[in-house]
Amino acid sequence: MIGKDFIRVLYIDLRNQKADIQERKDLYKYLGGAGVAAKLLEENMKKDVDPLHENQPLIISIGPLSTIFPVVTKAVATFVSPHTGEYGESHAGGRLAMAIRNAGYDAIVITGKAQKPIYLVITDKNIEFKDARAIWGLDVEETGRVIREREPGPGKRSIIRIGRAGENLVTYSCVNVDTYRHFGRLGIGAVFGSKNLKAIMIMGEEDLPISNLKEYFKTYQEIYKKVTQTDAMAKYHELGTPMNIKVLNSINSLPTKNLLQSNFEYADDISGETFAEKNLVRKVSCVGCPIGCIHIGQFRREFDKGYEYESIAVSYDHELIYALGSLLGIKTTDEVLQIIDEVELAGLDAISTGVVLAWATEALRKGLISREDTLADLEFGNTMEYIKAIDNIAERVNEFYYTIGKGLKEAVKKYGGEEFALLYGGNEMAGYHTGYAFALGQTVGARHSHLDNAGYSYDQSAKELKDEEIIDYVINEEKERAVLTSLCICLFARKVYDRATILKALNVVGINWTNDDLTRLANDVFFTKLKIKKELGYSLENYKFPKRIFETPTMWGKMDEERLNRLLKMYIERVEKEYEDWSRGK
């Protein structure tokens, strides 16, 4: 809590419809966000129990600077991932962090399963378990509308909800946060579904007095100036992350058509520039961020002859244009937006959905699966068929869709095609085919996300790829990001929030930490996550990279399988040694 030396945790038991609040001094050293959420997961998870068992916990945490400093906008969720079976962590912006802060909590732990579908209403004055039977089955947009109209507090509340994919326990279903943001990866939507939890509405008017207004506002303004008046974050407002499409394409690093290619003949037609010129209608922000990186694109769809059109607005980003665009061979911005819209309504993770469909396209072509399985003529570039398939994934309409609803890892176990399944560490690949640091980074990262350690960034900025340097980068960057994500600072602001700035902001709110404290935190969070993973059975022994990644050139040419395996071995040895030292010190 601001100005207090404890973490205020709200525990909710859905089965018994009870809540409890604990002020945890012992969690204070983990600060918030990823640190606190990982620790709470470690305490509450059940080791040998299915990830979707009702006793598995769902945790959401914010940090001590959330909302009260610029671009400190994220909430962090942890859970046992039904997708990988191990550590699940996902981050979302929007208004959620503000709403949790205003309701007076630092973290929320949800356990149990409601006997019938419910949605939760959490305010500073009450916890309510409301009947959601009528909205079970509704898509993400309609669910949001119903709750918006039923509940008070426009402007002050956050509404997070699942679609049909989450209800049907698709292991890459997401939780939609305030229409345009998401807890995307690793299947948190299914965790909601397994608890009969359709949505959470949260808001509050908790009194949060400022102890030292002069110093606080001075520091606030300094950071605000850095954010708005330097070029540290300009790119996120202008073209946004889709600027990557052209850049990656020009250096053979844009995964295309299930990575049969690493550049796309239609890249210019779906580039950030083209989206901005043809479809961009507005930009919006998470609460507390003056940047406005959320790009909303509009497309027009003819629903009948005689000039009958509807217009639909969806948010787009690099990862979505990659996974639901170039990777599926989609050639126009309007079509990419149509596919994004379908994924949004169903409540699926965009990256995993695109990668699974790209694999299915090739598997169908190679005869590993049939048209009877897919119920759609999956073919690169065929938008309407992919839209059918997305609906089938969410509904799990037959055995094939039931299987691919467990992710690509399960799909290849049953149907084969492992060699062209774009998986790193059991999670579907993000939109970079830059080289060794990316491939290693996404595989070993705590949550198997490209954002854990940004290996792609090393690949893109290095003058020469050096093995030792790659290992150093991937480990150090992940530790440093553990500090940022424990503070819930948006990673887009990583250049603004250097250590000195972080310490200054912390000191202003009465957390008198030093640089050494931050280093201690980085290690504690990094290794706590590894400890959780190990307890859940995680191991990279005998890990095999998919063949496809070695067949298609990266910006550094084709990767050598032996070298990547060697890098993985080096990484494991280094981290294991550090882990032992850390464990002994505990």
Binding site: T67, R145, R148, I210, F217, P290
Partner: protein
């Protein structure tokens, strides 16, 4: 000349709420944006446009007329000034303001009233808000 707050460019709004966070901090020494006198919200879900509920600086403020203890006095250029010591938290000003600009701070038991200080304007990254110079005779 006195200045009053205007929100004439809300189509440019990003929904970052920095204006509200600033108002709550600077004027009410609080991090909770529920304490802000400017209120940004959507017209119905994030797919719709943003709107700002602000004090429109009435020349003949109904809120002041409704106040039984003269705790709200006319401000030069429009709007009102709150004299906290006189306020009895009767909330009559809240219902008198038909644009919905006034709401209660139940922790301090006073209404939250815009001072037209311009702090929100200075922290708006997209220039949606402005301060307009008005003569004391100007009518909106």
């Amino acid at each position: 000349m006195p200045k009053v707050l205007r929100a004439d460019n809300m189509n440019k709004c990003l929904g970052c709420f920095t204006c509200m966070l600033t108002c709550a901090a600077v004027n009410h020494n609080n991090h909770n944006l529920a304490k802000s006198s400017i209120k940004v919200k959507t017209r119905g879900g994030l797919q719709s446009k943003f709107a700002a509920t602000i004090c429109v600086a009435c020349k003949e403020p109904a809120c002041a007329e409704a106040c039984p203890t003269n705790a709200l006095v006319k401000r030069p250029g429009g709007g009102v000034k709150l004299i906290e010591e006189k306020c009895i938290a009767c909330e009559k000003c809240v219902s008198a303001c038909i644009v919905g600009s006034i709401h209660m701070d139940y922790d301090r038991k006073i209404p939250i009233v815009c001072k037209h200080c311009g702090a929100c304007v200075r922290m708006c990254p997209h220039n949606c808000l402005s301060m307009e110079e008005v003569s004391e005779q100007d009518d909106r």
